[in-house]
Amino acid sequence: MRYSGFNVIKQALTGHKGWKPAWRDPEPKPSYDIIIIGGGGHGLATAHYLAKVYGERNVAVIEKGWIGGGNVGRNTTIIRSNYLLDGNEPFYEFSLKLWEGLEQDLNYNAMVSQRGIMNLIHSDAQRDAFIRRGNAMMLNGADAEYLDLAAIKREYPFLNFDDARFPIKGGLAQRRGGTVRHDAVAWGFARSADSHGVDIIQNCEVTGFRIENGKCLGVETSRGFIGAKKVGCAVAGSSGRLMAKADMRLPIESHVLQAFVSEGLKPVLPGVITFGAGHFYVSQSDKGGLVFGGDIDGYNSYAQRGNLPVVEDVCEGGMAIMPMIGRARLLRMWGGIMDMSMDGSPIIDRTHIEGLYFNGGWCYGGFKATPASGYAYAHLLARDTPHETATAYRFDRFRTGHMIDEKGMGNQPNLH
């Protein structure tokens, strides 16, 4: 069923009895052309683009729990394309462009809100670095705008401009950045993929891969063996656990990242702002809660909860730039598991096993990448060549020295 204003009115007048489930609940077939492991944002986006753009009709998405129950349901919903390096920026700009047309493409309201993102600048050196970043963004077709102090005071008068330690000197804005209703992204991709014939199989845990003579023939699951010509993994924080079943060690560690939501407030925060001197980012959801976060806890973890020292650190960052946040009560907080890669950048690539493909290492930046990650992964799965915007996201970049290290931290995952 196509969603439209006409349909909403028609259903309203007939007691809302005509709505159908947004996707089917099929039994797994004995085999598929392509199986995607992981019914999160990236996996469902991959299925959508495989079916709609690349014409693959015999595709299944296999999910251990329910779709959208992992990181796509646990993030701070920010979209942006303000990266510096050549391996990243074209990809993230492609993603932002896909976000801009996503709702028409999916016929689904994902509440894409281009309310703008602003990175605050606190020193002269940081201004130089951010202007360089802005130039790199514009060279790749993205928008970037330097804001002086007067402009920021006009838009965000409540910020702590004259802080003794970290006074605000300016900002780098990307007006096309913003936020998206995260759950709706998973649901919209799922509904669209399903309508193009993709089987979305929930409550089906992959317990192993069937690999013979270096070729992947399918997956063993809690609901039996399912054959596949190609298997694509997209399981975010569980990448290490899943790929260990294929005897692979990854350039990835799993870490916990916490996020926070305050009680609902009247509109106070027009866009997304980030603190340049610490690690803190905040936006206001349409329900009114301030959604904010900061650094990962910094130690390997698969527990979806963090510890108090990082809570304190994040809240200090908030108080440093936006003291009024101290008057808001915290409503809830949670942790998600990030697959932190060795250079802070993701991997979309074939593995050394024929027919087995990998998408992961998104660190804590995977949400904004969802559409482009799905598009590029679908391209790789359908054509066996990397998408033009994702040619740098290879496994062998650590072997050949072509790391994409935005923060310049080296092979220390908890520092990215």
Binding site: A244, L250, P251, E253, S254, Y299, S301, N307, F398, N411
Partner: protein, 94 residues
């Protein structure tokens, strides 16, 4: 998390800096290691869900390196050793 330091007793984990898997003690021998060995040592990790032996540095304390055995699913710490004792037991130090 509280790390029970073998010399100093229970300490807040916020005093420590985290490096990663304790197998980093087993640095390849530069005389014999291949490029593949260095790639594996530098970039590949086991990343288990469950018990993990890992290196913590007591930066806000006595600046010793510890090998902490911790469960990555529950954050429970079951043993803490001095990294130098572990390394010596493996013949890493003369």
């Amino acid at each position: 998390m509280i790390i029970n330091h073998p010399l100093l007793g229970p300490r807040d984990s916020a005093e420590f800096v985290y490096l990663g898997d304790a197998s980093l003690i087993d640095r390849p021998d530069p005389e014999t290691a291949t490029a593949e060995d260095w790639h594996a040592y530098g970039y590949l990790r086991d990343n288990p869900a469950g018990e993990l032996r890992e290196l913590w540095f007591h930066e806000g304390g006595d600046r010793s390196w510890l090998v902490v055995t911790r469960n990555t699913l529950t954050h429970e710490i079951t043993s803490v050793e001095m990294a130098r004792d572990v390394a010596r037991a493996q013949g890493r130090s003369k």
